[in-house]
Point group: C2
């Protein structure tokens, strides 16, 4: 199976699981379930769920039900996009090529849809079947910390907002991105590993892998924002410069940024050295993250 | 110890626990931790934590660390107030007698502070010490469901928003309030019971108790909104009528609403019949909920 076919298959599995976990649109209150589903099923690439599943596969053979744990990551990611797009934050009208949640459902419903997805992520983890309570609570802890304020996603977002217009230093840049995007990507890999019962050495290796592709992902994101059109990205391009955001191209220039992304890709591969062919998909995903065009 | 003294003591215990769980203001990013603390330490009555602790006490003798589980409830409650007060929702400038979170920290930070408290609530439950993983995961599930869209807090909020200006029927009224305020109060009592290891009969009795005081609480809230001043309430009074909200006074009139609150109080007492003196504080809290003036 090619990576492309593998991804298409896993995306279907994840979408089916999301469809089972999110209440149907016909469930009261209908509006909130419509809003949640609108943003969840907007054609996202499901990178985080793919990392969860591929990391679990690297540890043990296709553990049953791991796609449900993967759903929790996608719910957190989607809630963060909905809230990030709000007028009070990034004020974005376009996401994944479609009007943002608040443009369609209004601001009140978008705020609540984000809250709902955030809450549902933890409900899903608590209700995972065939996984011990010990592992489920470890997953809850991992996701909560990675999404939180101290070194987690929200912390990165706040630093990012407060960094606008500040002098872009290398330290500030790295601390923002390790938290803002990196924490959740790292958690994706770790949660897959925890789900599959990784031992300490496996978890440490996969954690390193997650950190390297997390950084690679953000560097490439920053480059794409400069180089690609809004149409290609499915979201407003060139926003970083317009908002005076601290980005890798702003600090290092495009060429150096490209080299840094490649270094992270290589380091990600190295981290997987203790794994055999089981980690092939993870290696391919690391390549994809660096070579993607949107 | 009088109820008043008991409450003051427990509020201190809860505030100390909150202070341990929420990162200090000096932790990066400082702004978000200031915003979280501003709203958490705004002089709330800590009704939900008190219910958690008192329900746990009814089941077993003062279980160690229950105040940490209680913190999770207060974090969810506070996040819901912060988001509810936003311009896109209730657009309120005053809460607990002080400017609302977004008036002080701006809308972006208020949205993120709410998200952070919601996330931290689950981190706290995952990290509870001296409680089995089985019980911790049960607490996570309970809190997530009670805060969610299907019969939970967000579901009630959405119905409440969408109900504005609609013909106020008894069914609509009850379904809104069972979810909007009731679900979290019910969960408070149940989480205390689960924490303390309640058996099935105890949990069933305490669940009934939680449902009755939940309804009583909301009826009294609606009455106070009509009868008291903004100064006495510490929040804008008379808003329900101004926004054409579906309330108990609007459907039943003030006198009948008062009688209904009293009926719920009596039913709450009855539900506690299987408990001896251990449940005294719960009985007193039921009385307090109905007799309060703010």
């Amino acid at each position: 199976m090619t990576l492309h076919e593998y991804m298409a298959m896993q995306q279907k599995t994840v979408d089916a699981a999301l469809n089972r976990w999110v209440p149907p649109e016909s469930t009261n209150p209908e509006t909130i379930h419509r809003a949640m589903r609108y943003s969840l099923f907007a054609g996202g690439k499901r990178i985080r769920p793919l990392l969860v599943i591929s990391a679990a596969d690297a540890v043990s053979d296709a553990p049953v039900g791991v796609e449900s744990a993967a759903c929790a990551l996608e719910m957190i990611h989607t809630y963060s996009l909905i809230h990030d797009d709000l007028p009070a934050l990034d004020n974005d009208d376009l996401r994944r090529g479609r009007p943002t949640c608040h443009k369609v459902f209004g601001e009140a419903m978008a705020i609540l849809a984000g809250d709902s997805l955030l809450t549902l992520a933890f409900e899903v983890l608590a209700k995972l079947e065939g996984v011990s309570a010990d592992r489920r609570i470890e997953l809850v802890r991992e996701l909560a910390v990675a999404s939180g304020t101290v070194g987690g996603m929200i912390g990165g977002q706040v630093n990012d907002i407060e960094g606008e217009g500040k002098h872009p230093t290398a330290e500030l840049l790295e601390s923002i991105h390790r938290a803002k995007t990196g924490a959740l990507l790292r958690a994706s890999v770790r949660m897959g590993a925890i789900y599959a019962g990784a031992d300490a050495a496996q978890l440490a290796a996969l954690t390193k892998f997650g950190e390297h592709i997390g950084l690679a992902f953000q560097i490439v994101d920053d480059i794409l924002d400069v180089e690609e059109s809004s149409e290609a990205l499915g979201k407003t391009a060139g926003k970083d410069a317009a908002q005076h955001k601290i980005t890798f191209p702003a600090v290092y220039g495009i060429e150096q940024s490209r080299k840094m992304a490649e270094d992270e890709r290589v380091a990600a591969h190295l981290a997987l050295n203790i794994f055999d062919d089981r980690a092939t998909r993870l290696r391919e995903l690391a390549d994809l993250v660096v070579k993607r065009k949107s």
